[in-house]
């Protein structure tokens, strides 16, 4: 089994100090922060979770932040569910996308990537990493991908779903180009709603956390449509977009709408040669959590089946966040289990088959 969204956290963002260039180290030591000392520089969203953000039973005995200690993460995810690979997605690092200063944002994400590679990935051969980049600095992000993207345990590039504009926009093409050069998928994870990224919700900000959380999939819709429409998958045939924690059930109807409108107005995007849903089937993947829960569980599958989602869905738990999904409680049609829990992620990340893992890892 592969878990595509496991959050490795820190107890204090000051773990990044040794990895920051001196000019930016001062910002973190003496500069303004959004919270107490050790908080990560970012602009916050206007909705605050009224119960905090973490599973209460994921707080280590030391009282450190949930997700910040490898031993508990191993016990509660890797060992408990017999996970072959967990794709680490960081925690606050993607929030650097909310900062107006692209140089600072880029320095912070670079520091995070060095910390990830040095402090987390060596801990366990089951851990694979995501290279976090600052999308507001596309050239800096591309340079970061070229600097670190060939590390053996890095399997994707990661950005927040909150963004200044949809990710197919030519403004971001340097990022797609670098990721294609390194043959890395680009994952877009829910987050980065605030600061520079002022429009995570259509019509402007909603009011309550739960109300908003259910609507944040809107950003996923825009990134999906934009990457297809701007021809990202024509220009870089190995490009892949992975929507993490952006919801799943909305994908079929949006693709149906895109197909229909494209058929009528194809002339706007002459670089496209196929239907939007065909690009999506080949190039776009979605992680399960939080998988929508219809009143009758089987109601979810016919529409997803129509777009070939059995090849597109990948399991994610979102450990240790409050909306964590336990793979044992995931209701999947029997023939979807293997691809969703394992095969699709193995393909997209190019990870070795299971028996080779257990031999190689010697566990």
């Amino acid at each position: 089994m592969i878990d595509c969204d496991v959050h490795n956290s820190w107890h204090s963002a000051e773990v990044l100090l040794p990895y920051l260039p001196p000019a930016f180290r001062e910002y973190l030591q003496r500069g303004e922060l959004p919270g107490p000392r050790g908080s990560f520089p970012h602009a916050h969203r206007p909705w605050l979770h009224p119960e905090g953000f973490m599973r209460y039973d994921a707080v280590p005995a030391s009282g450190a932040a949930a997700g910040s200690e490898y031993e508990l993460l191993r016990e509660q995810v890797l060992d408990r569910y017999d996970v072959d690979y967990a794709i680490l997605t960081g925690d606050e690092a993607i929030e650097a996308s909310t900062l107006a200063n692209p140089y600072y944002a880029n320095a912070l994400t670079s520091a995070y990537n060095d910390w990830l590679v040095q402090e987390w990935l060596p801990a366990d051969p089951r851990l694979k990493g995501s290279l976090v980049v600052a999308p507001q600095d596309p050239h800096g992000a591309a340079a970061e991908i070229r600097r670190m993207g060939d590390h053996d345990d890095i399997v994707q590039v990661l950005m927040s779903s909150g963004s200044q504009r949809p990710y197919g926009d030519p403004f971001f093409h340097p990022i797609w180009e670098a990721a294609a050069e390194l043959d890395l998928p680009i994952a877009v994870h829910l987050g980065g709603q605030g600061g520079l990224n002022a429009n995570p919700i259509g019509c402007g900000p909603t009011t309550f956390f739960w109300e908003t959380h259910a609507l944040l999939c809107e950003t996923g819709m825009a990134h999906l449509a934009s990457t297809i429409a701007h021809g990202v998958f024509e220009r870089w045939p190995n490009a892949r977009l992975i929507l993490v924690e952006c919801g799943v059930a909305w994908v079929p109807p949006i693709l149906w709408r895109l197909d229909e409108d494209y058929r009528a107005l194809r002339k706007e995007t002459p670089w496209l040669r196929r239907l939007p849903s065909e690009y999506a089937h080949e190039h776009i993947r979605m992680t399960t959590q939080p998988l929508e829960q219809p009143r009758s569980p089987e109601a979810l599958w016919p529409a997803l089946d129509d777009i070939g989602a059995r090849d597109m869905l990948m399991f994610a738990s979102d450990y240790p966040h409050w909306d964590f999904e336990d793979p044992r409680f995931l209701r999947l049609p029997e023939s979807w289990r293997e691809p969703v829990l394992d095969g699709n992620a193995r393909d997209v990340y190019g990870l070795p088959a299971r028996d080779r893992v257990s031999e190689g890892a010697g566990r």
Partner: protein, 126 residues
Amino acid sequence: MRGERHVVCRASELAPGERRIVRLGGRSIGVFNVGGSFYALHNGCPHKGGALCEGPICGTTVDASFGYGRDGEIVRCAWHGWEFDIATGVAIADPAVRARTYPVVVEDGQVMVVVPGTTRARGVRR
């Protein structure tokens, strides 16, 4: 009451507002003292199997003007935060959903939980 009685602790060892998570007959169970009455809930959430008994013990909003009440009568599941009435196991937001409850007996100062179809357990842990 059918089932085996398992001694959890002395009543004096579990003060009002406190809880213990114990393993009885192979099940993880939360034992609570709410205002001097003892209750036991299954520590596996009817939502998605989370650690129901390990979240905050609290109250909640009880009217449309943000009036706060029921303090100490509610436990929030440690995973997704659903609120459960400790005494009945009923989920506040959707009363059709219930956490499993176990009868609790206090005799000779001992708190005992009745677990169906088990033999007496040893190795109670906090």
